[in-house]
């Protein structure tokens, strides 16, 4: 093409190839867009349709009503009350506004900003899951927050049910509480349908019977929008089934009596911790279990603040712990039941054989093992040795029995193993033996340690429930039952879903006559005057006190000690004509009430546990005469007067 040709062609024609090229570009662009559209919509349309459905449809759990809890007489121990909960979906709260929103929310709720921030940061789920900020919000506050939703992005107010415990601290150690799930809980339980804003039993029977109480959450398919708000229910996959209710063996009346007796002693003797347990020896049913100090489970149900929780957690007397089962102490002289029963059954002593008691025994290079009264009583039979709680008597019995046989018998009585009570966090206790010491200290037991073990000191430790359960087995003629606090699980309609039968751990391999001897010896403890005026009660009590030394000696060289008293009352508690001393009554195995009192670090003149049991029995059996011995609760040392 020459320059002249170029000149001659009209400009239009010169541009034609460019217009054609532009047309080609248009075709390519639209073709590419169309092809891609075809790929997305036609070729892969099904895949994206599924994704769109996944976006909008989720399977959601619908909470079921949590089961209720009653005592054995139908007294309501927990209620579900309607409450307002403030929740937050962190994904809907822009980070830049977080400080402002949290601050505003804190003011409205009367909380610390730090608590709210912590709740958000410890959110166990994704940013799209709801986090519980505050529970039990007053209605007026809830309305205010709901109205201010425009300036509180991500915050929502829900109406839901929460637990209310009408009796609070009286039974909180047993009932426990249900509270918000933690990240750790959720890790375990997400597959079982637990939600991030779910409630779970955290202590007591609320925890142990979580499955029964929770019921079966329903499932529904819901349509939601991008913010996660529920638009509508598409279909109900499974309806929720209300949780079962629990009927406890607990008798709130007896619980009150036990608490009253314990509180009285705590107040008077300045005790820091104490336990009273009442059990039915025929069944292993717990009738009362008081552990003080305690806490109000309503605090947890409402949502406890970090400050309140720290106060409970840092209390040296551990109010959150059920001392009746979760802590172990030297059992002291109550353990002589094991030593005596074992020696009688093994034939190491005869029923009428006497053993010399004196001020002290000497072992090895002149090491002295003292009688508790530093005098002794001369020759004693098993009845009087047990009755006076003679230490020199039982040193010798333990010596004859040997540590391993002693350990064998202790285990038969349930020491050194968890009783299996249906409450969480039970301690195991310690039963020393040669093997045990070899394992722990790499040495065999020394003879002196066998002496100590024979009187419930040294390495021996036990929980109050273990001690009481041993005496319950004595009272019922040799059946060691697993203690139980729940009698029945009831369906939502009131029918019985599950009945708890007495659960026998073992028949003690002890002859009836040996056990009868020990019951009579237990009665001798009272009748001999070892427990002071307990014998004056019009109610037949048999049992054993214990004074268990622990810790470090004071300036006078005396050790602090815990007081124990484990006792049982025959079915017919009042002395029958012809049985003024009640010996025939305790020879029978029909006791339906065994009781234990434990006083931690009781720096009193007398055995405060015995006084607690005495006062409990006075109240329980409505004894007119008040035999409480106030003098024994004065500050002092048990050993001082003896």
């Amino acid at each position: 093409m020459t320059a002249i040709d170029l000149e001659r062609r009209s400009p239009r024609e010169r541009l034609l190839p460019r217009f054609v090229a532009f047309g080609v570009i248009v075709s390519i662009v639209v073709g590419a867009l169309g092809l891609r559209l075809f790929q997305l919509q036609v070729a892969e349309g099904g895949h994206y349709a599924t994704l769109a459905d996944d976006n909008r449809m989720i399977i959601q759990s619908t909470p079921s009503a949590r089961g209720l809890i009653y005592d054995r007489n139908g007294v309501e121990l927990v209620k579900n009350v309607p409450t307002f909960t403030v929740k937050m979906r962190p994904a809907d709260l822009p980070f830049s506004k977080r400080e402002e929103v949290v601050g505003r929310l804190a003011r409205l709720l009367g909380l610390e900003s730090a608590d709210i921030n912590e709740a958000i940061d410890r959110n166990p789920g994704s940013r799209f899951d709801l986090v519980r900020i505050a529970t039990d919000v007053p209605e007026a506050t809830a309305r205010l927050i709901a109205e201010e939703h425009l300036v509180l992005p991500g915050v929502q107010v829900d109406a839901e049910a929460r637990r209310e415990y009408p009796l609070g601290p009286l039974v909180s150690q047993l009932i426990g509480y249900a509270g918000p799930v933690t990240a750790e809980d959720l890790e375990r339980l997400r597959d079982e349908g637990y939600l991030t804003d779910d409630t779970i039993g955290k202590a007591g029977v609320e925890r142990v019977y979580e499955t029964e109480l929770r019921g079966q959450y329903g499932l529904e398919q819901v349509e939601r929008d991008a913010a996660g708000r529920k638009i509508r229910v598409l279909n109900e996959v499974r309806p929720p089934e209300a949780g079962g209710s629990l009927e406890l063996s607990l008798d709130v009346g007896i619980q009150r009596e036990a608490e009253k007796a314990l509180k009285w002693a705590i107040r008077l003797a300045g005790l820091k911790r104490g336990v009273v347990i009442v059990i039915n020896p025929q069944t292993g049913e717990i009738l009362a279990m008081v552990s003080l100090p305690t806490y109000d489970n309503n605090q947890f149900a409402r949502g406890i603040s970090a400050k309140e929780y720290a106060k409970l957690a840092n209390n040296p007397d551990r109010p959150l712990l059920n001392h009746a089962i979760s802590e172990q102490f030297p059992p002291g002289s109550t353990y002589k039941l094991v030593t005596a029963t074992g020696a009688l059954e093994d034939g190491k002593i005869g029923v009428n054989e006497t053993i010399m008691t004196k001020a002290f025994l000497t072992l090895g290079r002149g090491f002295r093992f003292w009688e508790w009264n530093r005098r002794g009583w001369g020759p004693l039979t098993i009845y009087d040795g047990f009755g006076h709680s003679s230490d020199t008597f039982f040193y010798q019995v333990a010596g004859r029995l040997g540590i391993d046989r002693l350990a064998y018998w202790a285990k038969q009585f349930g020491f050194g193993e968890r009783s299996g009570i249906d409450l969480p966090a039970e301690a195991r206790g310690t039963v020393p033996s040669n093997d045990w010491k070899q394992e722990v200290f790499g040495q065999p037991i020394f003879p002196g340690e066998t002496y100590q073990a024979g009187i419930g000191q040294g390495y021996d430790t036990a929980t109050p429930i273990q001690v009481l359960n041993a005496y319950a087995a004595l009272a019922n003629g040799g059946k060691l039952y697993r203690p139980q606090i729940v009698r029945r699980v009831l369906n939502a309609d009131g029918t019985v879903a599950r009945e708890f039968e007495p659960d026998l751990i073992r028949d003690l391999p002890v002859s009836k006559s040996v056990l009868r001897t020990m019951r009579l010896a237990s009665r001798r403890v009272v009748n001999i005057g070892h427990t002071y005026n307990l014998r004056d009660l019009p109610i037949i009590v048999a049992g054993k006190s214990g004074t268990a030394e622990f810790g470090l000696r004071d300036k006078q060289g005396r050790l602090p000690y815990h007081s124990w008293f484990a006792a049982f009352v025959p079915k017919e508690p009042r002395p029958a004509a012809g049985d003024p001393k009640g010996t025939r009554a305790v020879a029978r195995t029909d006791s339906e009430l065994a009781v234990l009192a434990f006083a931690y670090d009781s720096r009193t003149k007398g055995n405060v546990a015995t006084e607690i049991v005495k006062y409990f029995i006075q109240i329980h059996y409505k004894v007119k005469r008040d035999l409480r011995n106030f003098d024994l609760l004065k500050r002092g040392n048990f050993y001082q007067g003896n």
Binding site: R12, V29, A32, G34, A52
Partner: protein, 384 residues
């Protein structure tokens, strides 16, 4: 001087035109395709005005008002002789720069972006009208160049110098997308109007070589993220990739026939943000399916044909360059907007002409089409 020879014939033709001839010269197709596209836009506004589409102030009613205004603007502009624009090219240019400066200083920010200026209570995005004004100025510049001089670099340099201030002002808003539209208009107009291919290529290569500089020193981090996240939206599905993932789901789940107007779950349940503006095509594809999506693309092809035809028929370099600018603008916006929605183009805030809800965009394009119609009315039909 080919153009000189053409002048008298054109004036002559104008003089003999009767009313019937004017009507014959009117391009009804151009109007019909544009109206159909605008109706798709209204449909999308309707589906997004959930519940009460006819209440005052909804996207739908506002869309109706804007469409009415756009039709008026189109009619008025078409009635005027477009040649007046040549006379006013320079004042228009400075008005244009002034508008962009005003946007920059008076603009209402959405997340630090100064794009909208509120006039009489209506938010107006001046950069939309700036695009049309820029096409006028550009066409005037190209038309003033003698054909022989088109073979050198200076036509291109001059055009670039004209567009650069506007581009920089838009980039400062910051509105990367619109500045890219300016670039597309510049390139497309120069190409179709006959600028030197060799020099166009040279400048394109220089431009590409400057890309690393632009990337490092001019683009902000979020802009880079938006530009690259379409390559792998799943890398940050809750952040910059979220819209892309949700948009793809919306389009894909629409299938062949779509879910039906107001039935798009991605739309109605708000899974897809900005469903009335930048991502409106995703909703269109979700609710009207592949059929609807292709129909809209087809309408754009037909519209482009009528736009280019108007310029081609006109024996006037200005008219040709103007239609070239309009076609380039529309094609680029369709490519970038639809491409973004279906995940083959980066995220930029470029509206889809007619369909995206927005008064400025619709009225600006109506004015542009008005100019094209005025060109049609004032030409002699070529014999071929």
């Amino acid at each position: 001087m080919g153009t000189m020879r053409l002048e008298p014939t054109r004036v002559q033709a104008w003089a003999v035109k009767s009313a019937g001839a004017i009507w014959k010269a009117f391009d009804a197709q151009l109007v019909i395709y544009a109206l159909l596209l605008a109706i798709f836009g209204l449909l999308m506004a309707y589906t997004n005005s959930a519940g009460t589409p006819l209440a005052a102030g909804t996207t739908f009613t506002r869309g109706l008002v804007w469409l009415a205004l756009a039709i008026v603007a189109f009619a008025v502009v078409a009635a005027f002789d477009y040649r007046w624009l040549k006379t006013f090219a320079w004042p228009l240019y400075f008005a244009n720069i002034g508008l962009l400066l005003a946007s920059l200083f008076l603009g209402d920010g959405v997340g630090g972006v100064a794009r909208w200026v509120t006039v009489f209570g209506l938010q107006f995005q001046f950069s939309e009208i700036a695009k049309i004004l820029m096409i006028v100025v550009l066409a005037n510049w190209i038309a003033s160049r003698a054909p022989q001089r088109m073979s050198g670099p200076w036509t291109i340099v001059g055009a670039g110098l004209l567009v650069a201030p506007a581009m920089i002002l838009v980039l400062m808003q910051p509105d990367l997308g619109t500045s890219l539209v300016f670039l597309a208009i510049l390139a497309g107009t120069l190409f179709l109007a006959g600028a030197s291919i060799r020099w166009l290529g040279t400048f394109a290569i220089i431009g590409m070589a400057a890309m690393p500089f632009v990337w490092n020193y001019i683009l902000r981090d979020y802009q880079k993220q938006r530009l690259t996240s379409f390559l792998d939206p799943a890398a940050d599905p809750l952040g910059s990739g979220y819209q892309l993932v949700q948009s793809r789901i919306a389009v894909g789940s629409g299938g062949l026939f779509g879910k039906g107007i107001t039935n798009g779950t991605q739309n109605q349940l708000d899974f897809l943000p900005v469903q009335t503006t930048d991502f409106v095509y995703a909703i269109l594809a979700e609710e009207l399916g592949f059929i609807g999506g292709i129909l809209v693309l087809g309408l754009f092809v037909l519209l482009l044909w009528r736009v280019l035809l108007a310029g081609w028929r006109a024996e006037d370099p200005f008219a040709l360059a103007f239609s070239a600018g309009m076609a380039s603008m529309i094609l680029f916006q369709v490519l970038v907007n639809v491409g973004m929605v279906i995940g083959i183009m980066p995220i930029t805030g470029i509206p889809l002409p007619f369909v995206t809800h927005g008064g400025a965009s619709l009225i600006s394009i109506a004015i542009g089409l008005g100019v094209l119609q005025s060109i049609n009315l004032r030409q002699v039909r070529p014999t071929w």
